[in-house]
């Protein structure tokens, strides 16, 4: 009967329906389906994936752009820059750039945008990258600005890749949903169903092949995949591995995300390095890898290759249950309470198959005789464990986490994780803090070397975390598009780089 009823409705609706549905988009118009709805379109929140993927380098442009290969900053709205003293940088701005509302792009506009970010009148996610640095911006001439900071900023140009320049007419004291920037596309509409961008004729650069792009969102990966498969959409930046079944359309890419388990070294038995190493050794890494696809890279540190400071030599822990058991026995002999229950704290939907991974790892650890118990939390509860101040009530615990550093430098990783003050750090070691401080201040080769040393020490001596994998993202790209994802895809999808086959 139920089916009959469908037929009935179908019959009734087909007539009305067909036209609207079957009308194919015209050639230069594409539809992109994202996993979730952007909460807002505030240009100052472009480091939030679903905001960045829409706005970044489409509507608004940054001063510098990180080169995915080298991790070095290249020219964006700023064409060149030089460091006049440790705290001061001077930028040359691009000529002949107009905002979509006609306002001119110049030193004042940059000053405005940066002050809007740092003013504290509105919630600005991007500013987090700057830590607590206080910036003062002074226009030298129409196309030159000087940025002064209260602390040395060796990698300011890299940081500037998150500074999105908005039109001076943007309200400075409240977040907006109608951003106006200098990008090749301007916002046409933003409804609960879709965001539509249209090409901006006055764009300074070359005209993109795409004339119109609309974004929709579906939480179910299988449905996103289906939409591209059926031609309802042309591109979805992320689908689950089990949906990436078609080599023609589905591309894997190293997405700069590194998954790991944080060990809370503050509690017995986790305060014992042998146990921490055992935890690393007890996992059947190849088996686990199957959950994330054969292309995932086993991680030995929290940053991916291409990030300044990554140590290619550093070998990850291999699976060795026997050794793990031995270490545990040894620790036990030394009086470590190895039977204490250890809470493994996972987060729902942190990454595809994340929950399965936790279940698997729990099983493996139990297998080597550790009393690990899994608790899955939702984001907000999980955050309480991730960030200081940690909950008082916690006991010995392991925390599922994922770190995304696509900003080219280990500086966005090391301090938060490993300094006593770092908001994720569970241990404090004054000496180690010192090493990190040096690395942060250093530049060039020296800087790289120092960071490598730090990663090596964390891995070999401290073992305060369990790096899992450098994750692979899967995109499905419609047959009529000319596009490949790269490490930056999680934070931006520049429509200008998308070509059309024909």
């Amino acid at each position: 009967m139920g089916n009959k009823s469908v037929r009935v409705i179908a019959g009734a609706m087909v007539v009305a329906g067909w036209a609207g549905y079957a009308a194919a988009q015209n050639a230069s118009e594409i539809k992109i389906v994202l996993p979730e709805q952007p909460a807002n379109l505030e240009p100052c929140g472009t480091i939030i994936t679903n905001v960045g993927q829409i706005l970044s380098r489409n509507v608004v442009e940054p001063l510098t752009i990180i080169d995915p290969k080298s991790g070095q900053p290249t020219s964006g709205l700023a064409t060149e820059w030089k460091q006049t003293d440790p705290n001061t940088w001077q930028l040359k701005l691009r000529e002949g750039v107009k905002f979509q509302d006609g306002a001119a792009f110049n030193a004042e506009a940059v000053k405005f945008s940066i002050e809007r970010m740092t003013g504290g009148k509105l919630t600005c996610s991007n500013i987090a990258k700057f830590g607590n640095a206080k910036l003062t911006v002074t226009p030298i001439d129409d196309l030159t600005v000087e940025i002064k900071s209260d602390t040395p900023q060796p990698i300011l140009p890299t940081l500037l890749s998150v500074v999105m320049i908005v039109s001076p007419n943007t309200p400075a004291d409240k977040a907006v949903n109608d951003p106006v920037g200098t990008g090749p596309f301007k916002l046409s509409s933003f409804t609960p169903q879709t965001v539509v961008l249209e090409a901006f004729d006055g764009y300074w650069g070359e005209k993109p092949a795409i004339a119109r792009a609309s974004y929709v969102w579906r939480p179910e990966s299988s449905i996103r995949a289906a939409m591209v498969e059926t031609g309802e959409a042309d591109l979805t930046p992320s689908i689950a591995i089990q949906d990436a079944t078609n080599p023609e359309t589905d591309f894997a890419y190293l997405n700069s995300e590194t998954t790991a388990i944080r060990i809370d070294a503050g509690f017995a038995p986790l305060d014992d390095v042998r146990i921490r190493k055992a935890l690393n050794l007890a996992i059947d890494w190849d088996g686990l890898a199957q959950l994330f696809g054969e292309d995932v890279q086993r991680a030995s540190q929290m940053v991916v290759t291409g990030i300044n400071g990554h140590d290619d030599k550093l070998a990850p822990w291999a699976f060795d249950a026997e050794k793990a058991r031995a270490l545990i026995a040894e620790a036990k002999a030394a009086g470590v309470p190895v039977d204490t229950e250890i809470e493994l704290i996972g987060r729902n939907g942190i990454y595809p198959n994340g929950t399965e991974a936790m279940e698997a790892m729990m099983a493996m650890w139990q297998d080597v005789g550790l009393n690990v118990k899994l608790t899955m939390l939702d984001v907000n509860d999980w955050l309480r464990y991730l960030q200081k101040p940690f909950p008082e009530s916690r006991g010995p615990n392991l925390l599922q986490m994922m770190h995304d550093n696509n900003k080219g430098d280990a500086a966005f990783t090391v301090p938060i994780f490993y300094t006593s003050g770092g908001s994720y750090s569970t241990f404090n070691d004054a000496a180690f803090d010192k090493e990190i401080a040096d690395a942060m201040a250093a530049t060039g080769e020296d800087r790289t070397a120092k960071f490598k040393a730090i990663f090596a020490k964390v891995h070999d001596e401290l073992a305060v975390d369990i790096p899992m994998f450098h994750m692979i993202g899967y995109t499905r790209v419609g047959s009529r598009l000319e596009w490949k994802p790269d490490i930056t895809t999680n934070s931006e999808i520049p429509l200008a780089n998308i070509g059309l086959k024909d």
Binding site: G2, G17, G20, P192, E220, E232, V379
Partner: protein, 305 residues
């Protein structure tokens, strides 16, 4: 009298709504300070405290509550943290989508259920009766999100006759409506059948036969009309429960409705929006209930308020 009755109902409902909002307010606040959710993971403690201060989340909860009540009086339902605009605006914007879904689904379910149920009741134990019963019950017994995804894989991907999801053309309606209908339809068929059978056994049906009326007229004229009341009651409850089905349907089919909004905003701890959505749905439900009572009076001359 009628007005008096409605007034009484309205008064009761206002009480419940206020109770509801209070409940929601404190319950949601118990789910924790959302500041961290709204800032990037590597943001500093200071940044989070600043955020809390900016949005008054650092106040003691009862202060927040009185603030909320005070704002209510001036019809200010608070700001959405997530979408940085008025919460009630967000809720009202999402409501029509769900309303459309619900109305269409309910109307179709009721209509179909009445026809099917009546025909089944006309010949209890017949093949049609058994099949209708089985199918309707099966419909009521399937996990809706499961059938939804299967439906997409079959009809959109496999056969390619329907769009996978989204809104727009009439075809986009078919699957969401169907999924949403399953449960109400299934249960209503049962109710209609049951009430029809007992109605057909009632004395005045004998009279109708004694008058020499045509069977069809007896079934649809006399029996059905008298068995509508319980059907409406159940339909009402189902309608108010439909918001749950809507959540799933909206999530899967990317329908920008209030059900999904509700869930998203509680997951995102966007308290003001949660409260606004609750307010909107509660009022809608209240209107449905009133409408049902009035419908009673229309259908049964013995009922007067």
């Amino acid at each position: 009298m009628m007005l008096g009755y409605i007034g009484r109902r309205a008064y009761h409902s206002v009480i419940s709504v206020i109770g509801l909002l209070t409940l929601v307010f404190f319950l949601t606040r118990l789910t924790g300070d959302p500041s961290a959710l709204y800032l990037p993971l590597d943001s500093s403690l200071e940044a989070r405290q600043a955020f809390a201060r900016l949005n008054g989340l650092d106040q003691p909860i009862y202060v927040q509550f009185f603030q909320y009540l005070h704002n209510l009086l001036s019809l200010d339902f608070g700001q959405s943290l997530r979408q940085n605009r008025s919460a009630i605006e967000v809720a009202l914007e999402a409501f029509p989508a769900t309303l459309k879904l619900a109305v269409v689904a309910m109307t179709l379910s009721i209509a179909l259920a009445i026809v099917v149920g009546a025909l089944a009741a006309a010949r209890p134990g017949s093949l049609f009766d058994r099949i209708a019963g089985l199918v309707s019950l099966a419909g009521a017994s399937t996990p809706d999100f499961w059938i939804a995804i299967v439906g997409i894989l079959v009809f959109a991907v496999g056969l390619g006759v329907l769009p996978t999801s989204g809104t727009g053309s009439g075809l986009h309606w078919i699957m969401p409506i169907f999924v949403l209908m399953l449960r109400p339809f299934g249960l209503l068929v049962q109710v209609v059948r049951g009430t029809m059978i007992s109605a057909l056994a009632s004395p005045f049906i004998k009279t109708a036969h004694a008058k020499g009326m045509k069977r069809r007229k007896i079934i649809f004229g006399h029996a059905l009309r008298n068995s509508l009341l319980p059907v409406i009651t159940v339909a009402g409850d189902l309608a108010t429960g439909l918001i749950n089905g809507a959540v799933v349907v909206e999530t899967i089919f990317g329908w920008p409705g209030i059900g999904k909004l509700m869930i998203d905003s509680i997951i995102q701890r966007d308290f003001a929006v949660v409260q606004s959505t609750i307010l909107v749905t509660a009022i809608a439900i209240f209107i449905v209930n009133i409408a049902i009572d009035l419908l009673y009076a229309v259908l049964d001359p013995r009922i007067r308020y």
